[in-house]
């Protein structure tokens, strides 16, 4: 088949391989070696790109998916009602919980009559996908930018409520992780969800 001798290229970046014979000076290779050595030497004086962990840390994005957090509402009551949708949606089956009924004197601890007495996430199974955050109907669980520290035993990686629930005096702002539609919905204070 007769191919057309003009070269067809999609971009203009392809370089045609040149099979020129080397000149005598080029065949010494020494000038080329010197040029290479000068290039390498110039890198000696450039700024290094190393980030010295743990003194310097790389900046995470606003929606970085790290350690989970069970949030409290504005009055300090736990939002989670142990409905189990996060456990159902988790692709790695990392979440387990045991529900309990709210007593009379616990009205300021929990929003609704059902709450999670035991809520455990196995951090070794978790793949930090954020499906639990998407599935939660009560806006109770969010992924924050904290990292899971290393441990020596596997049991230590099962995080319970003591680690996961947000502290009352150390609230975390998760508005950047929520879509604009959700933020609009939250402004409507007549809805029961937002009270």
């Amino acid at each position: 088949m007769n191919q057309d001798s003009t070269k067809i290229s999609l971009t203009n970046r392809s370089k045609v391989v040149s099979n020129k014979k080397m000149t005598l000076l080029e065949r010494f290779y020494l000038p080329a070696i010197f040029k290479g050595m000068i290039i390498t030497f110039s890198h000696f004086f450039k700024k290094e790109v190393t980030i010295q962990y743990p003194e310097e840390k790389r900046k995470f994005s606003d929606i970085y998916r790290g350690l989970h957090m069970l949030k409290l509402d504005d009055e300090g009551r736990e939002r989670c009602t142990a409905c189990g949708l996060c456990a159902l949606s988790c692709p790695a089956e990392a979440i387990t919980m045991i529900a309990a009924e709210r007593k009379e004197d616990e009205k300021d601890l929990y929003r609704e009559e059902k709450y999670a007495a035991v809520y455990e996430i196995n951090m070794l199974r978790c793949i930090f996908c954020g499906d639990c955050e998407s599935a939660c109907p009560k806006e109770a669980i969010f992924l924050t930018d904290r990292l899971v520290p290393s441990e020596y035993k596997r049991d230590k990686f099962i995080y319970g409520k003591d680690v996961l629930v947000e502290k009352k005096n150390a609230r975390v702002d998760v508005s950047k992780r929520q879509t604009p539609e959700v933020l609009e919905f939250k402004k409507d204070k007549t809805k029961l969800h937002n009270k």
């Binding site: 070696i33 290479g36 050595m37 290039i39 390498t40 030497f41 890198h43 000696f44 700024k47 290094e48």
Partner: protein
């Protein structure tokens, strides 16, 4: 042969031995830092400020590794390999003139451990035995691939020894003596041999890279080609000896290059500054170490610039490239020496 002489030489020998070991130790750190800076990153800097305790950490790590011997390995040869390499690397430092002479209390003390009048020949004999260390290591490992790596390493070292020796013969021709002390003494002031023997210098430098198994000639020990080459089956301090002796070889090669071509302990305006004899000697030793550091840096600089030679390219270069040049240099120098002898 008084006791004072023997004592002085003993102290000098021990001092130079310790110095070579410490310098080789910090050369490992220097190489990693320099490699880092060439690659836009910092080298090791966690083990102490600027990583100064890193070689100590490496030594401790190597001591704690498991000492094993492969099944069916030759027991004597397995231990002999690294020991021989280390011995040979350290032996060569005995004849290098580290400085002029120190005059203390009326006696003249030379800064050279052994001023044999065949100094250059001694150094090359010692380097040639170094090939044995590699071969024995490869054979004693009872591993086909280690053996192949060792055979390649040995043939590489032997091929480049010829061109090296021929460029040395040229130096001996011009200076008229095999003694390293005489060769260095004749390069007084700025009368360095590199200005009269540039081709010889380039040939010697390239052969020094090949003799120390250093990039771009490091096929015998690179990890991508033969896993570890002749030191695949070694661990713990025996491996430590192989790796360490490579750095001692770099130090000795730099010292040889500085002594033969760059004037050793001579520096410009030596006699015109009006300093005392001892001061000139001390400054000369400092100048020598500056030159050695520079050449050590060049060794590392070239390592991180050039890609590795393939084995057949390496052999072709040694026999068909360097040896004719070294021979031509020798013939040309002989010619000029005969016609324009001073």
């Amino acid at each position: 042969m008084d006791i004072q002489f023997v004592l002085y030489k003993l102290i000098l020998a021990v001092a130079i031995l310790l110095l070579s070991l410490v310098i080789a130790m910090y050369a490992t750190l220097f190489e990693r830092k320099v490699a880092g800076f060439f690659q836009d990153r910092l080298g090791p800097n966690r083990a102490g400020t600027f990583g100064l305790l890193q070689p100590v950490a490496d030594g401790v790590k190597l001591f704690f590794k498991e000492e094993f011997m492969p099944a069916n390995a030759d027991k004597v040869l397995y231990i002999l390999g690294p020991s021989l390499t280390m011995l040979v690397a350290l032996l060569a430092s005995a004849v290098i003139p580290w400085g002029g002479t120190l005059i203390i209390g009326g006696h003249e003390f030379s800064m050279q451990v052994a001023d044999v009048n065949i100094g250059v020949l001694y150094v090359f004999a010692v380097i040639s035995i170094g090939v044995y260390g590699v071969m024995i290591g490869g054979w004693a490992s009872n591993n086909k691939y280690a053996l192949m790596g060792a055979v390649r390493a040995a043939s590489q070292m032997i091929s480049y020894e010829l061109a090296m020796s021929m460029s040395i013969v040229t130096i001996v021709m011009t200076s008229g003596s095999l003694s390293l002390n005489d060769i260095v003494a004749q390069q007084h002031g700025m009368n360095w041999n590199v200005f009269t023997q540039p081709i010889g210098f380039v040939v010697f430098l390239i052969c020094a890279f090949a003799e120390t198994n250093r990039s771009p000639f490091d096929l015998p020990e690179c990890e991508t080609e033969l896993i570890g080459g002749y030191h695949t089956e070694y661990s713990s301090m025996k491996l430590g000896f192989y790796l360490f002796s490579e750095y001692i070889n770099i130090f000795i090669s730099s010292a040889m290059i500085s002594s033969l071509y760059f004037g050793g302990y001579n520096f410009p305006f030596m006699n015109d500054l009006g300093l005392s004899h001892n001061m000139v000697t001390i400054l000369g030793t400092v100048a020598l170490f500056a030159k050695i550091s520079f050449f050590g840096f060049v060794f590392m600089w070239v390592r991180w610039t050039l890609p590795r030679f393939r084995y057949d390219q390496l052999m072709r270069f040694g026999w068909k490239g360097l040896m004719p040049w070294a021979m031509a240099n020798m013939i040309l120098t002989g010619f000029f020496h005969l016609l324009f002898k001073k």
